[in-house]
């Protein structure tokens, strides 16, 4: 094929219909040390092993069509994240889950979800709130003290420059009526593309303001328990937000 023919074939690619499976997934233990992009490859390969037809983007560098609700930092466990996986034919989401799970590495698992036609709003844009659990010695009382403050100014890197921001408004509240131990703190925080509180930034503030031991904080197990849309306390299930 000559160069020009080839270029022509690239622009005449037709739009393919997407059949989206919106799945809940967990990533725990050693698998949590795998980066966000690598997790995408992990899902892609497992779906291929299961022989299901994942859809690929067109163009020079085809990528599996997969959208995550919220990037997941390295080292953070999740029990309730969402991913939209596009298939090239209709695949029942329960079939996807049953067939793919045996092919996923240890610590990664898909839960049921729903089948949707092409979503009008991207999955990332509907996420507003995340629920986290922090597990570390004596963390509950320290966290409670921390969030009584009116202001939590932290410096963070943004576009290469250090900027100071107040993260207190990003914290919503502790999970109500929670009978967890002194070593567990569960809370709701803002999450998503407009307002987002990263758990590591939050932990850093805990060390800075409450003198919590940095080594202990570094060993704190952070688990994302769930993602939601809507405004607190009117949480909306991500599955319903198309």
């Amino acid at each position: 094929m000559l160069q020009n023919e080839r270029n022509l074939s690239m622009v005449t690619l037709k739009h393919q219909t997407e059949y989206v499976c919106r799945c809940l997934f967990e990533r725990v233990g050693d698998a949590s040390f795998v980066g966000h992009l690598d997790l995408m490859h992990t899902f892609d390969r497992a779906i291929r092993r299961a022989g299901l037809p994942i859809l690929y983007s067109q163009g020079y560098n085809p990528r599996p069509m997969m959208v995550f609700a919220l990037p997941l930092g390295v080292g953070i466990d999740t029990l309730g994240d969402y991913v939209d996986i596009s298939m090239s034919r209709e695949v029942d989401v329960n079939e996807l889950m049953e067939k793919v799970n045996p092919f996923l590495p240890k610590g990664v698992k898909l839960y049921g979800g729903i089948n949707i036609d092409e979503p009008k709003n991207s999955l990332m844009s509907v996420v507003t709130i995340a629920k986290y659990r922090f597990t570390a010695p004596e963390i509950k009382s320290k966290m409670r003290n921390l969030v009584t403050r009116d202001e939590l100014r932290v410096t963070k890197k943004s576009k290469g420059k250090l900027v100071e921001t107040d993260i207190r408004p990003l914290f919503i509240c502790e999970v109500p009526d929670n009978e967890t131990s002194e070593d567990v703190f569960e809370c709701f925080v803002y999450a998503g593309s407009s307002k987002n509180l990263r758990p590591d930034v939050f932990l850093n503030a805990l060390c800075e303001y409450e003198g919590y031991d940095r080594e202990i904080a570094a060993n704190c197990l952070v688990t994302r328990l769930g993602l939601y849309g809507g405004e607190y306390p009117e949480l909306k299930d991500i599955k319903g937000l198309l």
Binding site: A31, T42, G51, V74
Partner: protein
């Protein structure tokens, strides 16, 4: 059961923590053995730690590891796990916090294993072997290890001259390891069953296995500064050790369910091995001689395995592997079959080491779903004279003809690989490299005019490495260029190539090549040098920015040795440190090839005419079958 538990904070403090956690799809978990270990603290099975002396991303790209991992784990009485060299940041954490080196599968300290096996693919990884033993709390020298320590073995291309590392290994496996390593494991199993009474008796048993070399059974002899041969210390040990080969590649175990890493690795694809050996006989190429004779897998076997691998692994790319893929007789049948099977799967084939012709271009067009990647040529030398000297069966006309096709087909990126410092090389040969690059540049514009397309900016990359004479090649006796000679050649070429903006020149580090020749052709006196260098902080020598040439030269001199001793021209009749190793190819043949090199005469490929290299002794392979 001892387990190394790296804390969350320590994992988070290092680069790419995914390297250190395991849990990959395809990793073997033998529940029954783990349970036995958990309840009794020991197990009856042989535990093997397969160590790759470099980072995870490189080790996991290594096919030998995947093959031998499967061979060992296919045995019920054996559990093989993987171990990699921790990167410098993790190395520091492990030393500071007292973590021992551990296996990926069960996180067991490597000193709890019965066998610790290293695969040695390149000499520059030697210090990482020492790093791994060090972090594993295993004594460096075989003579310091007792019955309670693991048996430390190695294999791979570097095993053919293991003398510079001989003190550190209990046993060395020569040649293709699929059968040999299992035989070793079964002997170790018997030793373990009998209560590990005498390591010496175990070594005697191991020495009986064809292809196994026990360094401790021999003592190196020197006269003055010269190595003069080995003296046998153990009566039953063989005088020479013949490498092992697999006679029937269609029926040898192959990992069609490979371990698929969770993180990106260097070569992130599945692999299919077409054949072993090479019909070409390029005189500088060690692989071309140590891998003889040529043995192919049938296209049917390969097609079946390729389809299985693609399905089992989930990889979207299958790499075709061999020393020269165009020489595979079933290439068309195989690629047609695989492409048909992958239709609609979004899977591609990657085809390195193809000779560029119409068929190859057509194939590359078919397999690539992405943009046209660069074309790679390895003329190795700049003039026809020197290409005849090294028996590189490629002429300028071939290259130009291939490139004419490629340029007309839309390619515009070309990579050219050369070596500087080949035997008999003159400045004229160096200039030939620049001339060839300029001719290729002109050809691109010429083809653009003829075919009538608007020329882009062609990208021509010239890359030179420094020639290192290697054991078991016709040039094994040759001297290496000095640092000054290398730099002069490199500088001259750089000046010549500076004229064109379409040509980029990249070169390999001179100093690491000067050290590599010592490791490649050295004898046992190097063992103490390598250990001292390691103790002075040298490791990850294969990484140019970590390599400390000055430290190595200083350490070498402290031991009364010089670069010259190992880089000089060896006398054809002097004892070579690898003289007791037999790869099939005879010294007589290598000598004859060296003479033919000086006469600038080429030797035809094995398939065209047998040149009686000696590899017929294995009684298999294409050359043997055709007789």
């Amino acid at each position: 059961m001892n387990i190394v538990n790296i804390s969350r904070s320590d994992l988070m403090s290092v680069e790419s923590p995914g390297r250190y956690v395991g849990g990959e799809y395809g990793a073997v978990i033998k529940e029954n053995i783990i349970q036995e270990l958990e309840t009794t603290g020991k197990c009856s099975a042989v535990r093997a730690a397969f160590c790759f002396p470099d980072v995870y991303e490189i080790g996991m790209s290594n096919l030998a590891m995947q093959i031998l991992y499967k061979c060992l784990n296919d045995q019920d009485y054996c559990y093989c796990e993987r171990v990699f060299s921790p990167w410098i940041d993790m190395d520091k954490v492990m030393r500071e916090k007292g973590y021992e080196l551990y296996s990926m599968e069960t996180k067991s300290p490597i000193k709890d294993f019965d066998i610790v096996a290293f695969t040695l693919g390149y000499e520059m990884c030697y210090t990482n072997v020492l790093q791994m033993l060090d972090l594993g709390n295993i004594p460096f020298r075989a003579s310091d290890r007792k019955e309670t320590d693991p048996i430390v073995i190695c294999g791979g291309p570097c095993a053919y001259n293991i003398e510079p590392m001989a003190d550190f290994f209990d046993a060395v496996l020569l040649g293709e390891g699929e059968e040999c390593i299992v035989e070793v494991a079964s002997v170790v199993k018997a030793y373990k069953d009998a209560g590990k009474k005498s390591k010496h008796d175990l070594l005697i048993e191991l020495a009986k296995i064809p292809g196994v070399y026990i360094p401790a059974f021999y003592e190196a002899q020197y006269e003055g500064n010269k190595y003069v041969g080995l003296k046998k210390l153990e009566e039953s040990a063989p005088d020479t050790i013949l490498k092992r080969i697999i006679t029937d590649l269609d029926n040898v175990s192959y990992p069609t369910n490979p371990i698929v890493p969770n993180i990106r690795i260097i070569h992130d694809r599945a692999y299919l091995e077409l054949f072993r050996g090479c019909i070409r006989g390029c005189r500088f190429c060690q692989a071309g001689f140590i891998c003889r004779p040529v043995r192919e897998k049938s296209p049917e076997t390969l097609c079946r395995q390729g389809i299985e691998i693609e399905r089992n692994s989930g990889y979207d790319e299958l790499g075709i592997l061999s020393l020269s893929s165009s020489d595979y007789t079933g290439l068309k049948e195989l690629t047609d079959g695989l492409l048909a099977a992958f239709e609609g799967h979004h899977s591609s084939l990657s085809l390195p080491s193809l000779r560029i012709d119409n068929f190859a271009l057509d194939l590359m067009e078919k397999v690539s779903q992405t943009r046209k990647s660069g074309l790679t040529f390895a003329p190795e030398a700049g003039t026809q004279r020197l290409r005849d000297v090294i028996n590189k069966g490629i002429c300028e006309e071939d290259i130009m003809k291939s490139l004419r096709l490629a340029f007309a087909g839309g390619w515009s990126t070309v990579k050219l690989y050369f070596m500087l410092g080949l035997p008999t090389e003159t400045m004229e040969d160096v200039e030939g490299i620049a001339n060839l690059a300029h001719k290729i540049e002109n050809l691109y514009y010429e083809v653009a005019r003829e075919v009538g397309f608007k020329p882009r900016k062609p990208e021509i990359t010239v890359s030179t490495s420094m020639y290192i004479p290697k054991p078991f090649t016709p040039f094994q006796w040759e001297k290496q260029c000095t640092k000054e000679e290398f730099l002069e050649k490199q500088g001259h070429l750089r000046d010549l190539l500076r004229k064109s903006r379409n040509i980029k020149y990249i070169w390999h580090d001179v100093e690491s090549s000067l050290w590599e020749v010592i490791l490649a052709r050295g004898d046992r006196r190097l063992c103490s040098v390598i250990l001292d260098g390691y103790k002075k902080g040298c490791f990850y020598d294969a990484w140019d920015d970590k390599f400390k040439f000055d430290v190595w030269m200083e350490t070498l001199n402290e031991h009364g040795l010089t670069w010259e001793m190992f880089a000089r021209e060896f006398d054809v009749d002097e004892a070579l440190p690898w003289g007791h190793i037999d790869v099939g190819v005879t010294t007589k043949f290598l000598k004859k090839e060296r003479e033919k090199a000086y006469e600038e005469t080429i030797t035809p490929p094995c398939r065209t005419k047998c040149s009686a290299c000696g590899a017929q002794c294995f009684k298999v392979g294409e050359c043997y079958a055709s007789k």
